[in-house]
Amino acid sequence: MSDLLTIKDLTYKKNQKTILKDVDLTLTSGKIVALLGENGAGKTTLMRIIAGVAKNYKGQIDLAGATKEAERKTKLSFTDGLTGFSDSTKIVQIVRFYSTIFQDFDENEFDELRKFMKLDPDMKLSQLSRGMREKLIIALTFARKADLYLLDEPFGGIDAMARKKIINSIILWKDEKSTILISDHFVNEISSLLDEVVIVKNHTVLEHKSADDIRQNNKSIEEYYESFYADEDDE
């Protein structure tokens, strides 16, 4: 298994406030990895930096040989909150946009995903429930052919059925070589899927461990994650 993503000495400040510091992280190809941490720990920022959306960071990021932001963007697919589209935009219009912007966007693949998620292409964004919107975001993200998929909190505020659909789409659509990084502040629902866990706390990557190692130490992934926050509950 080869290294896919290497982050070294990453520091990021915004308005003189430190969001991330001294981040080192290496991900190999073909894995499903959870990025865990409390709200505000810096998970989304880390994803935005990897994705080349957040700039002016210090440190090195290498994604399959690509170090420049523009190059990295062609090798990864990042969930977009679809905030750039107005409420009256139809799914078909968003698909057209994606297919113009991203050379690796496969419309047939999207159609398969759309059918799997049971989404009507003529629906407008304003007509989508929270769960449907999240399913659309996942379908758009997986319809690109990338080495790295960044899913930023795909399970936030959606019902159990939508969650199940999204989890199944991960199992079905992930190819052997690509790696999926999923951020969440709650691990239970995806713990059986995971190869590795990355913990973000105190503005940095605190731990990076394989799921098997955690279980072999007689802990569930959830217990392992919660152990990083145990001290705070006691205060």
Partner: protein
């Protein structure tokens, strides 16, 4: 499928498949479901299923036909050994649980015989 927290998932998938074979749900010489189908059924990573199947190939309980998938061995001796080890696991657990309840090993046979002789009564009790 519900996984136990503290055992690597691939080991639990192995145990699950061994059980399916012992129960006759997957028969000697039969093709088992594809890796992706098993992954979906168990809500696990494809890698994890592959790892479990690889180990079972090494142990000889499964064999791979190139391009066709994984099949259950036709080696009847190995199959009955597999079944016996599952039975032993169950018995281990039973003996340990009974010991915790204060039933000593030399009392096990009489306790079990007594239970089985009256098992119909127990069942009726449950039905009422």
């Amino acid at each position: 499928m519900e996984f136990k927290d503290n055992i690597p998932i691939y080991l639990q998938i192995e145990q699950y498949l061994y059980r399916q074979i012992a129960l006759g749900k997957m028969k000697a010489g039969e093709k088992i479901p594809s890796v992706r189908k098993l992954a979906l059924e168990l809500t696990v990573n494809v890698n994890t299923v592959q790892r479990a199947l690889q180990e079972m190939n090494t142990q000889g309980i499964l064999y791979t036909k190139r391009g066709e998938g994984n099949f259950v061995t036709e080696d009847t001796e190995l199959l009955s050994k597999t079944k016996q080890s599952l039975i032993n696991n169950e018995l281990d657990e039973f003996v340990q649980n009974m010991e915790k309840l204060g039933v000593k090993q030399d009392e096990l046979v009489s306790t079990l015989t007594d239970y089985l002789e009256h098992s119909e009564d127990h069942n009726e009790d449950h039905n009422e």
